[in-house]
């Protein structure tokens, strides 16, 4: 599949839109290539390269809409997809909540592309795996990991004159290093738009060091502890909570942001004063596309939480119109403000506490309070008098991120962290939190 340029995709969008007599037409084209290498037990298991592109077309007659997608770009295929969308629109029941395509938008380009990332080759991927495997072997450890890089193009267009095209790149690396006897385990994750900010050797060494230090873990009684949570320990919890900043859910009374008696909690101080979370598509570290692919609205810098107060909610086009609110493109990244303090400094200021590297298998227990459960994993340590004393066994926690962000004592320096199951690119600082609720012990290493 050819890597389509702006001229290519503009021509395709115009062609498709010109072929229909429907009331409106929306076209998206996304594609690119993704390379990956996977290894386990100190050997490469799979390696691959996937190239693909997909065009999606949605047409509407009144409030009836049909959708089709296709991954072939000859004229016949484009027309086939369009006619299918038209047929489905004619068959579909009328949707009273249907919203017409948005009017022309201005998109200011964001920082999402790196030529160096786009140039990654199989040799680079193999070398990344090799660093990790060789260093692990030297330390009598067993390494498993996954490196993936992608280079994509993204185009949106509609019959009201919206057009956007932008290229994006990214690398993502995770590595788990375990001791041969399975008593120690360390993990690392690195994400970047520009691969020159990624160092496979440095990353692998972090996982190796954690694996070596995590053997001989001692059991600590479950209970409430002061914790220092690394970014990979909180990103999923915070991302989960922010995913629930939906205005409609809140207004309908089925969200933790619903107000007693009706309405939502916009403007209320739900978090500690130190908590500031915003979205900014133009951020230099975690830039995202300048539009929201769902509504095709332009994104803006948005304060989600300002000095501990709820500062924005996410509105669908329908709900914004119903509530008389200006709709803005939904955010694609989340940045939490921090300080210049290193994790080491946070540890040095802690009398007794627990350092958590990573949390895992996080699921919602109660949407009313956003109570989440999950486990610590791959590097959990006991801190005493400002120093890491010894590794400890993993815990299960039951905690709400709302409570967690109320109990902040100190915040460190933000780091890039891509989520596993959250939709945002994120910058999250390490943070020291009191009374974090560990409810049971896990024997897992």
């Amino acid at each position: 599949m050819k890597f389509l340029t702006q001229e290519d995709t503009k021509r395709i969008c115009d062609k498709v839109m010109s072929m229909t007599k429907a009331d409106e037409c929306i076209v998206t084209i996304n594609g690119g290539r993704t390379g990956n290498i996977r290894y386990a037990r100190n050997a490469v298991s799979t390696a691959g390269l996937v190239e693909n592109a997909t065009m999606g077309v949605a047409v509407a007659y009144g409030k009836k809409q049909g959708i089709a997608t296709i991954n072939e770009f000859d004229d016949k295929s484009l027309e086939k997809a369009l006619r299918i969308a038209e047929d489905l629109a004619k068959l579909a029941p009328e949707n009273p909540e249907f919203m017409p395509a948005v009017s022309k938008q201005q998109f200011r380009a964001t920082d999402t592309f790196s030529a160096k990332t786009a140039a990654i080759d199989p040799e680079f991927r193999a070398q990344t795996a090799a660093y990790s495997i060789e260093a692990s072997r030297k330390n009598k450890l067993v390494s498993a990991g996954f490196f993936t890089d992608n280079t994509s193009f993204n185009t949106i267009a509609n019959s009201n004159g919206v057009f956007g095209h932008q290229e994006a790149t990214g690398v993502d690396f995770t590595c788990t290093v375990r001791t041969e006897d399975g008593r120690g385990s360390g993990w690392v994750k690195r994400s970047a738009t520009d691969v020159s900010r990624f160092d496979a050797r440095e990353a692998s060494d972090v996982a190796i060091e954690k694996a070596l230090r995590s053997v001989e873990a001692k059991a600590l009684e479950p209970g409430r502890y002061t914790v220092i949570l690394k970014p990979a320990a909180t990103s999923e919890l915070i991302g989960f909570m922010l995913g629930g900043f939906d205005a409609r859910q809140a207004d309908e009374g089925r969200s933790f942001l619903s107000k007693k008696g009706g309405g939502n909690r916009m403007g209320e101080k739900l978090f500690d004063q130190q908590v500031n979370i915003w979205s900014d598509p133009w951020d230099k570290d975690v830039g995202v596309l300048p539009w929201d692919g769902n509504t095709m609205l332009a994104r803006e810098r948005m304060d989600m939480i300002k000095d501990g107060r709820v500062s924005a909610l996410d509105y669908s086009l329908f709900w914004a119109k119903k509530q008389g609110v200006r709709a803005i493109g939904s955010p694609g990244n989340m940045i939490m403000g921090g300080t210049s303090k290193s994790t080491q400094e946070l540890i040095a200021n802690t009398k007794k506490g627990v350092l958590v590297t990573r949390t895992w298998y996080i699921r919602l227990v109660d949407p009313q309070s956003v109570l989440l459960t999950g486990l610590t994993r791959d590097g959990t340590f006991y801190i005493e008098n400002g120093k890491i004393k010894h590794p400890i066994k993993n815990f299960r926690f039951n905690e709400s991120p709302v409570t967690m962000l109320n109990n902040i004592e100190e915040i460190g320096k933000p780091e890039i962290i891509a989520g596993d199951e959250v939709q945002y690119s994120m910058m999250i600082p390490a943070m020291k939190v009191r009374d974090f609720n560990f409810t049971s012990l896990s024997d897992a290493v």
């Binding site: 929306i26 998206t28 990956n36 386990a40 037990r41 100190n42 050997a43 490469v44 799979t46 390696a47 691959g48 997909t54 999606g56 077309v57 949605a58 809409q65 959708i67 997608t69 299918i84 969308a85 489905l88 009273p96 909540e97 395509a101 199989p122 795996a129 498993a144 995770t174 375990r178 009374g253 089925r254 619903s258 007693k260 008696g261 009706g262 209320e268 769902n294 509504t295 329908f318 298998y361 699921r363 919602l364 227990v365 109660d366 949407p367 009313q368 309070s369 956003v370 109570l371 459960t373 486990l375 299960r396 039951n398 709302v402 109320n406 199951e421 049971s440 024997d443 897992a444 290493v445």
Partner: protein, 545 residues
């Protein structure tokens, strides 16, 4: 890992464009045109010959056509109707003792031969980093054979309008019965898979699955509380006859607290009950934390089985191949080798069965051409076996593969995936009502709720949809804010009673994620209502802000 939100369906049209998770969209009428068998065989032979010529010692070819439809509704509105199709060819080879894989969506002989040659080149490159050559358990070629999911009504022939109306009728029933909001969705899958290998097999399979999840939400704005109750339908490997709502398939839960479903589902009835239950939950008593005897309905227990028995007995996890993503396993080879490792109580028997009728995992042959089979995993409480593919069988002393190989698409490489793993019914006659009579202080749990387990499958926490307090042998009413925490081995050793075969039915996971890049599979787990004594229950109610 059971994925949290596999489908994120946006409110707008463009949102739906972003989620062609099943492939490419096509019109309903096009779903019915099958690709000719002779054409597929000739394409397959092209790949097999090209791979052999390039030096492969083994080759398999999968020609796939994946047809799906999903319909989403919210209250009385249909939000999306999307048809998808994905077709292409995946070629896997062994050369120099290592795997290579390549795929193409161009069904021309040249392109397929080229994919086969690419796969051989990748295998040669991978061989340099391989520590030992692959050892494949033998499979006898079966020649030209076919298998299809047994179904009476093909979902592809049921008009979209009829399906949408069924979902809206369910939502309306829920809203009329007191729900503040309703959602009902319908996922339908058809996988047309043609497999050929240098062992001499040409296997044509036609696989059908469907699932109709719904959710009722009840809101009390005065107290600012809301509660939900999800539907109790199971995803099934069968046809649209699942929605026939036959009276013979309805089962009364213990104490008559709700109706449950075996091989067909009454979605309107369940939606109505869901609304009523969600409303009752708003004022249900909060649970006192402590130790309880748990009576777990099959619609709930399947997910606990999936996470605590299905995943830890996957051999690739045990060996460390999933260490960086899904995790490893406490059920290590040394424990299995003792032949004494008590995974559970004596009455606990787990059977893997890829032939189970109506199950999500039922196939004629796996994605390595191995015939579907049935085998014991836990017998009389002891760990006796794992789930293996051809290249793993020798590690556990098996002469044949268990047939556990699966790829979720023509462009994904096949690897070890979980078969249906089910808890055998109790041998003595026992109904759920009789089981409840023996409980002094307990909770009866129905439906799948919150779920989380550690990466080696020791510590877990599960919730459900419905919780009923049991006091002195009687169900006394709904309770809320319940989750149980346990350790896998302790939990299954605390199994104190299993209802008999009359109560046995399946639940299932439609979106089970594993691998990097992640692949999704579907699998069922059957059981009868089962009791576990003295399990730790926590109260999950919290106050915020």
């Amino acid at each position: 890992m059971e994925r949290r939100t596999f489908l994120k369906i946006g409110g707008g049209a463009a949102g739906a464009l972003l989620v062609p998770v099943f492939g490419e969209a096509i019109a309903a009428e096009e779903l019915m045109n099958p690709v000719g068998l002779a054409f597929k065989k000739s394409l397959a032979d092209t790949a097999l010959n090209a791979a052999a010529k390039a030096g492969a010692s083994y080759c398999d070819v999968r020609i796939g056509r994946y047809l799906n439809q999903f319909i989403t509704t919210r209250d009385l509105n249909v939000e999306n109707i999307i048809n998808t199709e994905s077709s292409g060819v995946g070629v896997r080879v062994i050369a120099n003792g290592a795997y290579g894989f390549a795929s193409t969506n161009d069904m021309s002989p040249d392109s397929i031969a080229n994919a086969a040659r690419q796969a051989v080149a990748i295998a040669r490159a991978n061989a340099r980093l391989q520590s030992e050559p692959l050892r494949m358990a033998p499979v006898k070629g079966v020649g030209d054979v076919a298998w299809a999911t047994p179904y009476k009504k093909d979902w592809r022939t049921v008009p979209v309008k009829e399906k949408a109306e069924m979902l809206i009728a369910a939502n309306k029933a829920g809203l009329d019965a007191g729900a503040s909001f309703m959602t009902a969705n319908l996922f339908q899958v058809n996988q047309q898979k043609y497999f050929a290998s240098t062992d001499g097999s040409y296997i044509d399979q036609d696989i059908h699955r469907l699932w109709a999840p719904l959710t009722a939400t009840a809101v009390d704005k005065a107290t600012n509380r809301f509660r939900t109750r999800d539907g109790l339908a199971s995803p099934m490997g069968m046809g649209y006859e699942y929605f026939d709502a036959r009276p013979a398939d309805k089962v009364q839960a213990a104490g008559g607290v709700t109706t449950l479903y075996r091989n067909s589902y009454d979605i309107v009835e369940d939606a109505r009950a869901a609304a009523k239950h969600a409303r009752e939950k708003l004022t249900a008593k909060t649970i006192e934390p402590g130790k309880y005897d748990l009576v777990l309905s099959p619609e709930h227990l399947f997910l606990t089985i999936h996470e605590s028995v299905g995943h830890p007995t996957e051999l690739d996890r045990v060996l460390g191949y999933e260490a960086n993503y899904a995790g490893t396993s406490f059920a290590t080879l040394d424990k299995w080798q003792t032949k004494k490792f008590k995974f559970g109580a004596d009455r606990v028997n787990f059977i893997a069965d890829k032939n189970e009728k109506g199950s999500l995992g039922a196939v004629g042959y796996d994605d390595e051409g191995v015939p579907a089979k049935r085998w014991d995993i836990i017998r009389d409480g002891v760990l006796v076996n794992y789930q293996a593919t051809r290249d793993q069988a020798h590690i556990i002393g098996e002469k044949e593969s268990h047939g556990c190989s699966y790829a979720d698409s023509w462009n994904s490489v096949q690897f070890q995936r979980m078969p249906n793993v089910s808890l055998a019914a109790g041998k003595e006659r026992l109904t759920p009502d009789e089981m409840v009579k023996d409980v002094k202080k307990g909770i009866y749990i129905l439906g799948r709720g919150s779920y989380s387990i550690d990466q080696q499958r020791y510590n877990f926490q599960f919730g459900g949809q419905l919780y009923y307090e049991i006091k002195n042998g009687k169900i006394v009413g709904q309770v809320e804010d319940v989750a149980y925490q346990s350790n896998t081995q302790e939990f299954w050793n605390a199994c104190s009673a299993i209802c008999d075969q009359r109560d046995w039915r399946m639940g299932g996971s439609f979106f089970d994620g594993k691998g990097q890049p992640s692949q999704v599979s579907a699998v069922s787990h059957g059981s009868s209502t089962t009791r576990f004594n003295g399990i730790n229950v926590i109260n999950t109610a919290r106050k915020i802000g």
